[in-house]
Amino acid sequence: MSMSGVLVVSALVSATWLFFVLVHLGALVLFRVRESLILGFMAAAGPAILWRLTGSITVSGEPVPNFLKTAALFLYWAGCIGYVEILSLLSRGISFRVLLDLLRNNGAADLKTLSLSYGDGMGLKGLLAKRLHSLSRAGFLHYQENQVGPPTFLGRLFGGITSGMRTLLRLQQVG
């Protein structure tokens, strides 16, 4: 199979990805469906459709080889991960939130005001409480009233791996 076959498969990957992004956005904006459901559907149904599409075409009389079809799935999933990362930044990005807070405050503020009014007034305390609730919902730790912890097995595993990576990459003063 020549370069034209590769280009056809890349076009199919892009079209499938774009279709599911539009379905996701449409479902979010119009129907307020639970986000994780649509993202799960995007990650599972997209590859199924893509596999059928690439299996049904021939380029210059040749079918698409199985390993290129498999790689097309990986490329599609790469697009899904990139999309999820952008969505996550758009809802939880701290630097972006600070910019929006500054915008609401006529473009200027001192550091203390920024930290107290962070996130439309929730402050850094609100930010930490929000993250702890998310971690608790995800099953990483126990969080009741004022007591944080202990972490669950999953939390210890997550904490161990991520702390280990921070130490290995010398990323101690972040987050």
Binding site: V6, F67, A71, L90, L102, R156, T162, M165
Partner: protein, 165 residues
């Protein structure tokens, strides 16, 4: 051919991760250094392509198969790295695991976080990116920051979400 594709992908990832580790271990930094990381990812993809050309010549199918799998692994790593690098949740988990009985009072956690320089560090990084201007304790948004804020606000609304932070 499948075996050579896997070997090429592994070579690309080893080159990328090896260089990443060397650069990051050499100097500690608060900055996520995304431009450098992206350059290293490009070098990794180049290594995959070179290995594939060495094994199979300039055949487009095995070459792009290797490059697409490599792209998936690199994007996945970027996703994990972004979390490890900037996530408040990761900071909270590692703090919790350092405490004696792995529990801590919420008030203490908040107090420690506010007293640390983590928030200021973030503002300083935003200053380095040209999004804000930090002078003393005063923070002012720059025209570049204003443009970013407007794009973020637009995208948040377009994707039907609230920018919560």
């Amino acid at each position: 051919m499948e075996k050579t594709i896997l070997i090429s992908v592994m070579i690309g990832m080893i080159v990328f991760l090896g260089l990443h580790l060397v650069f990051w271990r050499r100097s500690a930094s608060n900055s996520p250094r995304m431009i450098l990381l992206t350059t290293l990812a490009g070098i990794g993809l180049g290594a995959t392509a070179l290995a594939q050309i060495f094994f199979n010549g300039l055949k487009p199918v095995p070459l792009f198969t290797a490059l697409w799998i490599d792209t998936f692994l690199l994007i996945s790593y970027f996703f994990v790295y972004a979390g490890v690098c900037r996530s408040v949740s990761v900071t909270l988990m590692s703090r919790l695991m350092r405490s004696k009985d792995q529990t801590v009072d919420f008030g203490i956690l908040v107090d420690e976080y506010i007293r640390s320089t983590r928030f200021e560090d973030r503002i300083r990084l935003m200053d380095q990116s040209g999004w804000v201007q930090l002078s003393g304790n005063s923070v002012r948004i720059t025209p570049k920051g204003l443009a970013v804020a407007r794009v973020v606000r637009f995208l948040s609304r377009a994707t039907g979400r609230e920018m919560e932070g």
